[in-house]
């Protein structure tokens, strides 16, 4: 026999199958709401640092004046040569970025829109995106570029061979890659440093061509520690540059968006609303169950069960609801994430930590409702069953 005691909570909960299924659907709805809001929140943060994540660097060198990727602030290329000379640095290569001047013409509508252009030396392994590195040689041809497939629809056709204009200059698309959009760029173009100079000659103010780079990407020698090498670099280089590990740089960027946008507040509130909706739904389910069984619960109290037993039954129901409601909620969220990734290009992932967090929230949600609903049964007077 599997049960030594009568599984009262389970039997009450599942007695009416239709009601049970509807209950689970209600809980699942609240769970989906929370998954969506938190998913959007982290997707928006993730998309702000998607480019940084795809850079092949251990350390990132930036201008002292650059505090976010949302501004263009370059550093002298000479600093990279200086860095290469520092012990522990294996390699250093530049990344050119411009999102102020470039404007992309939609080959279909002929309308122009700003776009972010990334320039690099095709000989350098700058990106972790295999599609870019694989086509590096093709980018050496004049007036060629790769375009981000996930750029917004308004940029028009983007398949290989498309010919259009970038900042009023003819350009041929030799391939595509996948990166995604963020708050400052609605599309991305990658080209060689030579082409970058041709398209944007006045870039980076006075001085020799290509003398000013947006980011310096540093690889460290095997067996050295990024933090240690960064420390050495900071003392070796002039104070006009900032050396950070890749993760520190990413964290700085995330902090900038966190401090300067109401994202966390907005989506956090959305998730909180989901939580509250969940409490209301769960309370409604449990309260109805309690009220429907009031004579039975009062009978249990009359024959000698204590209040805490009855409260435990209701809380047990709440726990069952939270686990069983979470599963379809998770499944549904997984499907919706997939749909949204396809539709919007937002980087929606379902990391295990989020599943754990939301399972915890679901349990908390149902427990709160359980405690509220159990109050009704505690006030049930066992003498009432004789009335």
């Amino acid at each position: 026999m599997p049960w030594s005691r009568v599984p009262l909570a389970w039997l009450i909960l599942t007695h009416q199958k239709r009601r049970f299924v509807l209950s689970l659907a209600g809980i699942a709805f609240a769970v989906v709401l929370m998954y969506m809001e938190l998913g959007f929140l982290s997707a928006l943060y993730d998309s702000q640092v998607a480019l940084l994540q795809q850079l092949n660097a251990d350390l990132i060198m930036s201008s002292k004046a650059k505090y976010t990727m949302a501004i263009n602030e370059a550093l002298p290329r000479g600093r990279l040569y200086q860095a290469r000379a520092v012990a522990g640095v294996a390699d250093a290569y530049p990344l050119y970025v411009d999102f102020e001047q470039p404007s992309w013409r939609n080959p279909g509508t002929r309308g122009s829109r700003p776009i972010r252009v990334l320039g690099f030396n095709p000989a350098d392994p700058v990106f972790l995106i295999p599609e870019i590195q694989a086509r590096a040689e093709q980018l050496r041809q004049p007036d060629t570029a790769l375009i981000d497939r996930e750029s917004q629809e308004t940029y028009g056709r983007r398949e290989q061979g498309t010919v259009t204009e970038l900042s009023r200059r003819r350009l041929r698309v030799v391939g595509t890659f996948s990166l995604g959009t963020d708050f400052i760029s609605h599309g991305n173009v990658v080209m060689s440093d030579k082409n970058f100079l041709k398209f944007f000659p006045s870039s980076r103010g006075p001085g020799p061509n290509l003398s000013r780079v947006e980011l310096g990407l540093l690889k460290i020698a095997p067996g050295t520690h990024p933090g240690t090498v960064a420390g050495v670099l900071r003392t070796a280089l002039p104070p006009d540059v900032h050396i950070q590990t890749k993760q520190e740089f990413i964290d700085q960027e995330l902090k900038f968006w966190h401090d300067n946008t109401p994202l966390g507040y907005m989506f956090g509130l959305g998730a909180a609303l989901g939580f509250v909706v969940g409490i209301v739904i769960c309370y409604q389910i449990l309260y109805t169950d309690v009220v429907d069984h009031l004579p039975q619960f009062a009978t249990l109290k009359a024959i000698g069960y204590r209040d805490r037993f009855v409260r435990r039954v209701v809380l047990h129901e709440a726990l069952l609801l939270s686990f069983l409601g979470h599963v379809p909620g998770l499944g549904m969220s997984y499907l919706l994430y997939g749909m949204l990734v396809r539709a919007t290009g937002l980087p929606l992932h379902l990391p295990p930590e989020r599943v754990l967090l939301l399972l915890g929230l679901t349990i908390a949600m149902c427990t709160v409702s359980g405690i509220l609903a159990a109050r009704r049964v505690i006030t049930a007077d066992p003498a009432e069953v004789f009335a």
């Binding site: 026999m1 030594s4 005691r5 009568v6 009262l8 039997l11 009450i12 599942t14 007695h15 069984h293 004579p295 039975q296 009062a298 009978t299 249990l300 109290k301 009359a302 024959i303 000698g304 069960y305 204590r306 007077d381 066992p382 003498a383 069953v385 004789f386 009335a387």
Partner: protein, 373 residues
């Protein structure tokens, strides 16, 4: 042990009260809305009897039942249940008392989601027993109540009578010495109600448990050993049916009452109570004011007009003490127990009341007195 003593101790042991109530008052509401629902009630329920409590609705029956059932706190007076005083008990302790009482309600109050077996097991789970023992006990009681083949049915798949039997099984499964039942037959048809009541009677006999049953159902009064009538919060009559019947049968054989009608006999019997007196006890002393009428059940007494001179010996079935009650004069003789005696006693007020309501009885008594003189 004398015959009288044996009969007396049998009576006594029965009434080693499972429930003893003294000076019980109960109020509902506060301030101006305070309303007294029970007024100075005294009650003793002997073991192994079925007690039926009747009375108009609003008379306080249910309140009395819930007080005995430890479902309410006692406000004023004393309620002892199974040897435990309930007055002043904390709620937690009241719950413990409830565990040794079986409850049967008007509605069966079974969980619709649970089978008969599971519903009964919920009650067994209050006991510290191994899982298999709980299961066996539940199965055993259900089988005993004729539900052996319905154990795994849910209430919805059972008839009204079967459901009520499951509820009875739930009340009995922990072998309580006291069962409180509130209108257990109200929701049942005549035959099913009868069946349920017979079952209760059988259980009371077999397990020597006391059943207090509140009912309006006249059809089931015959199972009662005792009938209590409650009106406006007061116990207005308390008839030990079985005892009254025994007294009636005895009275019918007494020369004094031989020609008296059954209706009068039962009136007399209802008002009588038993007293036991060991050999040598003075029951009546010459010169005292008369307050009781006696009828000897067992043993014999000496009647003495003067100290030490027995003028007459009265045996079982004979009555004495009526003269002083009729005439209002002091006792004319002393009566003392020759051996242990068991007597039925009728108080002066009750005696006169019976006389007043019954002309034939009065004549009969006067005739007896006349003959004696």
């Amino acid at each position: 042990m004398s015959k009288a003593q044996a009969a007396w101790s049998e009576q006594r042991s029965k009434s080693a009260g499972v429930v003893r109530i003294c000076g019980l008052n109960h109020h509902f509401g506060e301030g101006d809305f305070r309303k007294q629902v029970l007024v100075d009630n005294n009650l003793e329920l002997p073991a192994g009897e079925i007690i039926i409590m009747t009375g108009p609705s609003g008379s306080g029956k249910t309140t009395l039942l819930t007080l005995i059932g430890a479902l309410r706190s006692v406000q004023d007076g004393s309620v002892r249940v199974l040897g435990q005083e309930l007055r002043g008990l904390a709620n937690e302790r009241l719950v413990d008392v409830r565990r040794s009482i079986g409850f049967i309600f008007q509605d069966h109050n079974l969980f619709p989601a649970l089978t008969a077996m599971q519903n009964v097991r919920l009650a067994v789970e209050l006991q510290a027993l191994p899982a298999h023992a709980r299961r066996e006990r539940a199965a055993e009681i259900l089988t005993r109540l004729g539900l052996g083949n319905r154990m795994h049915y849910r209430p919805a798949a059972m008839s009204g009578g079967q459901r009520q039997r499951v509820a009875i099984a739930r009340a009995l499964v922990n072998q309580p010495r006291l069962i409180l039942a509130d209108e257990p037959t109200a929701a049942l048809d005549r035959d099913t109600g009868r069946e349920v009541v017979n079952l209760l009677q059988e259980l009371a006999r077999q397990d020597n448990c006391t059943i207090l049953l509140v009912t309006h159902d006249n059809r089931i009064l015959d199972v009662a050993d005792r009938i209590i009538n409650l009106v406006d919060g007061r116990i207005t009559s308390h008839v030990a049916v079985k005892e009254t019947l025994a007294i009636c049968q005895f009275l019918a054989q007494c020369p004094t009452f031989v020609t008296v009608s059954h209706a009068i006999l039962s009136t007399v019997a209802e008002k009588m109570h038993q007293e036991f007196h060991p050999a040598g006890t003075v029951l009546i002393r010459k010169g005292d004011v008369g307050d009781k009428f006696y009828l000897i059940r067992e043993g014999s007494v000496n009647v003495q007009v003067q100290e030490g001179q027995t003028i007459k010996v009265l045996q079982a079935g004979e009555a004495f003490g009526e003269m002083a009650l009729l005439t209002g004069q002091p006792r004319s003789a002393t009566v003392l127990a020759r051996e242990d005696v068991l007597v039925y006693v009728l108080g002066k007020a009750d005696f006169r009341a019976v006389l007043d309501t019954s002309e034939p009885f009065k004549e009969q008594i006067l005739k007896v007195i006349f003959q004696r003189q």
